[in-house]
């Protein structure tokens, strides 16, 4: 019988044990029910464990067993379309075992052990392989799931088999060692890769304010901070739906149960804009809601990141959404305070900044050891208390990430959605991506963006004057600038996530829309110069058509028609030539 320790103290999710001598981050089985936990501190003869399940009723004296391995994620075919809690237990399996409510003491494998997958070798006997080498493929829905040699293993293939296998069956032998489809990897450590590449290809999200104004590249990092109700979740769900990546990992970290349900109910019925396949089939959902145990919430971001890395290693582009990183930070704080650690700013542990940067550091576009290129783009929601961005989680995050999508409460009160403020947001990648936009969309794309930003900037200066004297006092040319800025905001920047057409706007269309607003602007400048009244320009039916086009099924035809009609419409305004 294995030697075991005993519980000395229980305080919420933190349990202290004596009589064991584990390594840091070893998984421990706590109490008679064997609740899963992880060693987070070792202090003399005391071992401090964060427990991933409810600890009610647990008492001193109960046994504690060391499993001698760290918290791992199970990686292999079967991840896609799964819904896990923070420690990769499939929620449907938990429901079968314990009903509609989550009780404790049930363990469940991340990957189905019974399901057979058709393995087709791509390597052969005698091939030299090492960690990351692709030796075969499996169809996981429409994705070609590449089976790789686990990191740390290398040698010559003695045998490789074709056929139907479970994730635990041997599919190959390398220097006598059995290789199976499933790999296990400690979630807190990044998986190895070759080298980082420059992130110079944009992640196309179909969201105008993001793609055109503040783009994120594949492999980039972005933060989206905002007070409650400003649109973090909607934006992240939009990214999960429409981003042009092969894989999406969506981590609901300490947020609402109903939001997870919404993903589960809508994603299967939506199509991946690139492949036309059901969205859920490219998605892995980690749902550790606010009322589920905080220790598992703390682990959830690592579980999600490890799964993302596994697909990156296969040469895929992955986007990872974490909603919300603030809840993750709070889980750290809660556990740290139970440890009676010296608190840093606002009670967060001193290692908050380090944990955040380690996490975002796992993003990137990389060349893998197997020669493929893959990427993980990370978008972290931040929920600053009181919407105050000076708080530690926001500040530490902004020091790391290179894109800042600033949600603004005043915009949300006006129902300007997405409520991403055009003057405070930024993307430090813009310059590096300009080349791509020039080559793949239009030569003048960066200039067009620049023009729009300038108009918006000018608007905010003019607004200050308007606040003092009213808009009627402005010269016509400035009034017109305000009207053009309004068009950029209302037609281009505003985008309704819940409208069947407007929800997704391809990059080419983004360009056409902005270009038409620019054309309208150029025409109206001329008209104003020749004495046409601003009110008459604003009342032109063509302006209204431009505003409403984004809701039309036939939007692209309508935009083309507007383009054709524009000059005539202005000509008919009269004015002196």
């Amino acid at each position: 019988m294995e030697k075991h320790g005993t519980i000395y103290r229980v305080a919420g999710p933190v349990v202290t044990a004596t009589g064991v001598s584990p390594k840091m981050y070893d998984v421990m089985l706590v109490g008679e029910e064997g609740l899963m936990g992880e060693v987070i501190k070792i202090d003399g003869d005391k071992t401090i464990i964060q427990v991933y399940e409810e600890t009610s009723g647990l008492r001193p004296g109960e046994k504690v067993v060391d499993t001698h391995h760290p918290l791992v994620a199970e990686l292999g075919p079967g991840l896609l379309s799964s819904v896990y809690d923070g420690i990769q237990r499939p929620l449907p399996v938990l429901m079968e075992a314990m009903g509609d409510f989550i009780h404790r003491g049930v363990s469940a494998n991340g990957l189905d052990r019974k399901k057979k997958w058709k393995f087709e070798p791509t390597a052969k006997k005698g091939d030299k392989v090492s960690g990351g080498s692709i030796i075969g493929t499996v169809k996981e829905f429409y994705l070609t799931h590449k089976i790789m040699i686990p990191p740390g293993v290398s040698g010559t293939i003695d045998e490789i088999y074709e056929g139907e296998f479970t994730v635990e069956e041997t599919i190959a032998k390398v220097d006598g060692k059995d290789i199976m489809m499933m790999q296990k990897w400690p979630v807190r450590a990044g998986r190895p890769f070759g080298k980082k590449l420059l992130p110079d290809i944009p992640l196309i999200t179909g969201q105008r304010v993001l793609d055109t104004m503040f783009p994120l590249p594949k492999g980039g990092t972005a933060a989206i901070p905002g007070a409650f109700g400003t649109g973090k979740t909607v934006t992240q769900q939009q990214l999960a739906k429409w981003s042009d990546t092969e894989i999406v990992v969506y981590i609901g970290c300490g947020e609402r149960g109903n939001e997870m349900t919404e993903v589960l109910e809508t994603f299967p019925g939506l199509e991946d804009p690139t492949t036309g396949e059901p969205l859920m089939q490219r998605t892995v959902l980690i749902a550790n809601t606010s009322n589920m145990p905080v220790a598992a919430r703390e682990a959830s971001v690592y579980t999600g990141m490890t799964i993302a890395e596994y697909y990156r290693d296969q040469g895929y582009n992955v986007s990872l959404m974490a909603d919300s990183t603030s809840r993750w930070a709070e889980a750290m704080r809660e556990i740290s305070s139970r440890l009676e650690e010296m608190p840093g700013e606002e009670g967060f542990p001193a290692y908050l900044a380090a944990r955040l940067s380690e996490f975002y550091e796992r993003a990137g576009r990389v060349e893998n050891h197997n020669g493929t290129n893959g990427s993980i783009s990370v978008v972290g929601a931040v929920s600053p208390p009181g919407g105050d961005l000076s708080e530690p989680v926001t500040q530490n995050t902004l020091r790391i990430v290179r894109v800042f999508w600033a949600l603004d409460s005043r915009l949300r009160e006006r129902r300007h959605f997405p409520a991403i403020h055009w003057l405070t947001s930024y993307s430090l990648y813009t310059n590096g991506l300009n080349k791509w936009y020039r080559e793949n969309v239009a030569e003048d794309f960066p200039d067009l963006r620049q023009w729009a930003m300038e108009v918006l900037q000018r608007e905010s200066e003019l607004q200050e004057i308007v606040q003092l004297v009213g808009s009627d006092a402005l010269p016509d040319e400035q009034k017109m600038t305000l009207e053009i800025a309004r068009m950029i905001r209302e037609i281009f920047l505003q985008q309704n996530a819940f409208h069947s057409v407007d929800t997704f706007c391809p990059l080419e269309r983004q360009y056409v829309m902005l270009k038409l607003i620019k054309k309208f602007s150029d025409q109206s400048s001329k008209a104003v110069e020749s004495g046409v009244a601003v009110d008459d320009i604003v009342a032109m039916p063509i302006r209204n058509r431009l505003a409403m086009a984004k809701y039309e099924e036939t939007i692209d035809d309508e935009l083309a028609a507007i383009d054709k009609d524009m000059v005539n419409a202005f000509d008919s305004l009269g004015g002196k030539a």
Partner: protein
């Protein structure tokens, strides 16, 4: 021999609501304990921290009168709530004891009060429109069955009237009625009386379970009250198939009690002295709203809280807003202007609105007209600020329309009687009459086809 019967007289320390006991047998975390005073009176408590050396108990009824000589017993189980169908129509204390002079509750079941988390996989999406009869809610911040939608109010504003009006008028289109679970936390006897007399007047009491923790009841007991209320609600909803509306008031008092416990435990405080785990604590309360696949019943929550200093960034409204599915915010300004219900739609939000409105649910034009109201009202309100500086004449004709719109909106749409129960068609029609005051080409949020169907201009010409 079970440890449950053993009595310890080893209290070493009493601090705030906490009692420290030493030299016990192993005691389970979160277990229930009773403290018996020399005169025989008993208080109940719960284990917050347990180790070989010391057990910390949080005493619900407060530690007043407890001395070191008091005896402590551990009951060997976590706190349970006896529940039964007969609870409907009953009034209980904040600790769950009948206070209406009626018989003891004969339990059909005893349920753990902390309530397990609903497996997200088991949840069903809330989507059935609840008509509250209040235009600002139904038209612009629609409530759906299974939602948690708090009222953020301020002292002196009529949030209780709004809550009562919602409780009275709420119905789904199929006509089913709600059972009401009402949990008072630290409200005054007068306020409590106000609620009770309304429940009695309208006969709502028959289908209500009332929990009363009043201002002069022990603050610590307040920690229990919402848990008891929600355990009851879960039983009614998920075992007896009822649609339950839970009203919790005032969550601010609940949070104060949390803060008090934190301070007594000498915890490192989070923002403004509230415990760092307050988000998680509130979430485990609010997340007990919802629907479950395959179950008929549902839990809809309307928590009420008063914002200290009218400050929406205060941790109590702030953390609440981060958990609930929107919020209804009241405004002192509207109240001063004599408008009831003084609901500030701009700051309000229902995140589940989109799921509950539209063709077949309410009406096809609902979303568009609501967006238009928001946009036009926001613009009109901005212009008010400007007019105060530059005068009305400096506005363009367009802007004058918006300015007038804002006034008309508050007067006709927001304002209604405490007993005025508007159906959704009435609400939407009022909205159309209001936007008809704006130039048609300014209705940028509304699809052409709805304008042609619902705009009074077009309706007239039919």
């Amino acid at each position: 021999m079970s440890i449950a019967s053993k009595e310890y007289r080893t209290i070493t320390q009493i601090a705030g609501p906490l009692v420290f006991v030493e030299k016990t047998e192993p005691i389970g975390y979160n277990e229930l304990a009773t403290v018996t005073m020399p005169d025989g009176t008993q208080k109940r408590g719960q284990v917050l921290d347990t180790s070989d050396d010391v057990v910390v108990i949080q005493v619900f009824e407060g530690t007043t009168g407890i001395e070191k000589a008091a005896g402590v017993k551990f009951l060997g189980e976590t706190m349970k709530m006896p529940v039964s169908r007969d609870m409907l129509g009953r009034i209980l204390s904040g600790a769950g004891e009948p206070i209406d002079g009626g018989p003891a509750i004969t339990p059909e079941k005893r349920l753990d009060i902390s309530g397990a988390a609903i497996n997200p996989w088991a949840r069903a999406e809330p989507m059935e429109f609840i008509q509250t009869g209040i235009s600002t809610i139904d038209g612009m911040n629609t409530l759906v069955r299974g939602q948690k939608l708090p009222i953020f109010s301020s002292s002196g504003l009529p949030h209780n009237d709004i809550a009562l009006q919602i409780a009275r008028q709420s119905k789904v289109r199929t006509g089913e009625e709600f059972a009401v679970v009402f949990a008072a936390m630290g409200i005054t006897a007068e306020e409590a009386q106000y609620f009770m007399s309304d429940f009695e007047r309208t006969g709502a009491l028959k289908r209500a379970v009332v929990f009363m923790n009043l201002a002069d009841d022990p603050a610590i007991e307040r920690i229990l009250t919402p848990k008891l209320a929600l355990t009851t609600a879960e039983y009614l909803a998920f075992e007896l198939d009822m649609h339950v509306l839970v009203i919790l008031t005032d969550v601010t008092n609940y949070c104060e009690a949390l803060r008090q416990i934190g301070a007594a435990r000498e915890e490192v405080p989070g923002r403004r002295g509230y415990p760092g785990y307050m988000y998680t604590d509130l979430a485990s309360m609010y997340e007990r709203a919802g629907r479950i696949k395959g179950k008929k019943g549902s839990i809809t929550q309307i928590p009420i809280l008063t914002m200290p200093g009218d400050d929406i960034t205060h941790p109590i409204p702030d953390l609440t807003g981060y958990i609930t599915e929107g919020q209804i915010v009241t405004s002192r300004e509207l109240h001063r202007a004599g408008i009831y219900p003084p609901i500030n739609v701009s700051a309000s939000l229902s995140r589940l609105m989109n799921a509950g409105i539209g063709p077949e649910l309410t009406r096809e034009d609902h979303k568009a007209i609501s967006d238009q109201l928001y946009a036009a009202y926001a613009e009109g309100k901005d212009l008010r600020g400007l007019v105060a500086i530059v005068g009305k004449d400096a506005l363009s004709e367009r802007d004058q329309h918006f300015l007038e719109f804002a006034d008309a909106f508050e007067d006709k749409f927001v304002r209604q009687g405490t007993d005025e129960d508007r159906d959704i068609e009435t609400t939407l029609d009022i909205a159309w009459e209001l936007v008809a005051g704006l130039p048609i080409n300014q209705l940028s949020r509304i699809d052409r086809k709805y304008i042609e169907t619902y705009h009074p201009e077009y309706r007239k010409s039919e």
